[in-house]
Amino acid sequence: MSSRETILQRLRNRTGGELTVPECDFSVLVRDDWSIKERIERFEKMIESVHGEVHHCTEDMWMDRLAEVLNTRGARNLLIPKQHEIGRALRDAGRDDLPELLIYDEPIESWQAHLFNEVDASITSTRGGIAETGSLILWPNDDEPRLMSLVPPVHIAVLRASELYTTFHEAMQAQNWAAGMPTNALLISGPSKTADIEQTLAYGVHGPKELIVLMIE
């Protein structure tokens, strides 16, 4: 008998009594509908409490703010999506106050060392945010691959305030995650951190040292 059958058979033929299936009432997770203003405030408070940064922007000036952010950090380059409107807009803008724009359009194998050692910052879109915990929802794909939000020391994420959900529970229902998940989905709530050395917080242990949210209102 295979290990699979051995395990399943032991579980099915358990010696104890019939197990009752309890009702699960998820209403405790539901928060009163927060206004958009409350959601923005809460999101900002939560993500800032874990060392994230929020910049309030409009459709017209987010690129100015981005340039500022990158210049103060002395970023030599910025990894951008190829297809997404964020990437297109940046390329089309032809601005001279932005650093060199890089595109992730080759399999990682062909440029891994470059990504790990030379890329200073990246910008990605988001599929919304979660106010209660100050989290960004990302579904990496071929246009914005998984490592884009992980390897460069600065990760900049564009979040539309209109796509802020109150809770994780609400977000997954609204976006119908039960119907199917992508190969990789993420909640990102702040820059990479550790407290493994005597409970002292240190940022950027493996992933980005900084997480900057451009919130478009």
Partner: protein, 479 residues
Amino acid sequence: MSETAEHTGHHIDVKQFHPRAQAAIHNPKIRKNFRSAMDGLMSKRKTAFEGWDLETLRDLGANVRLRALANLPDLLEQLEKKLTENGIKVHWAVDGDEACRIVRDICKARDAKTVIKGKSMVSEEMELNHYLEEQGIEALESDLGEYIVQLADETPSHIIMPAIHKNTGEISQLLHDKTGTDLSNDVEYLTASARLQLREKFMNADVGVSGVNFAVAETGTLCLVENEGNGRMTTTVPKCHIAVTGIEKVVPSMEDVSALLALLTRSATGQHITTYFNMISGPRKAEELDGPEEVHLVLVDNGRSSIYQDDELLDTLRCIRCGACMNHCPVYTRVGGHAYGTTYPGPIGKILMPHLIGLDEGRHLPSASSLCGACGEVCPVKIPIPDLLVRLRQESVDGDKLHPAKVRGHGAKRSSMEAMIWKGWAWMHASPGIYRFGTGAASKFRVLQPSKAGAWTDYRTAPKLAAKTLHQRMKERGQ
């Protein structure tokens, strides 16, 4: 255990709990490191749940886990089906040894020489690192705490914060000795050095091994909770990702995950959420530019299906490994994680390990508790830990040969002297005449009562017998 011991020269003798606990209690450094860490964790947890109806949330957590356990075999089959559809290969292992062999075979098939690991307590349970080393495969931990513990050739002393027993000075010395970094008390510097060393390893590792916090049957999704990003690195950069998990980690849907996640991070470290919540539902697709080409899930039983047989012990399997029980445990806080000598220390270890290693090996574990009940009060999924400790104490001294033993090593702690004393005690209390005679005699000759009673009176005054028994006094009052 004999089977699992085949590749573990490393084993600590669990039976030596008392000498280790004694040594830890007299070690001020251990006392201080744990005391300050646990105090911090307790207060952070409390703050994190402010504004929540915590009792209702814990009820939901308990029900979500119980519902999953009630359908465990069906859910495992559903999970396997869905993961397979998604392109993830599922393996089953009855014990740690088989799980190790499965990991080795996947590595060998890819001609893998190096494995980078994200944090996984199940892999600690399997003692995977030592096994792989014996097979000529380098296994390197990438969680900073695990990395430190591995450099020191130790085991984790806490399931969430593996290196909590060490202070900055000790870690600095260790990193200096083993990796050549400068001696420094600057945590930023030490962390940055580890980042550099490990980035190199991530790029070159052939296989990534991780644990799983929740496996979702409905969508075929493996969820990982972490702060550092090493878990994402481990599951994204190497071409092959192997996840290992206990069979009890499966839940029906993402909705269940939303409830458990709300409880897990707040209970563990007082965080509203961790930096990364990583949900993996398949290997890299043809058009994708990164991610592993192969993803495997190893479902490990290792004693869990035995726990599943008993209606009461089954509650052990609700655990979501937050560590709140150890953070709040007065015994754990004083003796630290290593005194237990087990993969899982603290209250959860005391109710889980006897199943994994047998009550003969783990005979002292259920007794290493004052039964104060703090663990049960903070458990996010309401495991009645104190009740289970009492049950395991019974199992460890039970002499009932007629009923099949529920826990391996059943009766290991039974002493015929103790059994006889309790038999006498029961007989006396069931016979009114003998009882009156016995208690009367004890009162009468109470001056003969010794003022010392072994270890009990080392820190306490011995109670004095009253001049008259309760029965006599009631009689005098005419009642």
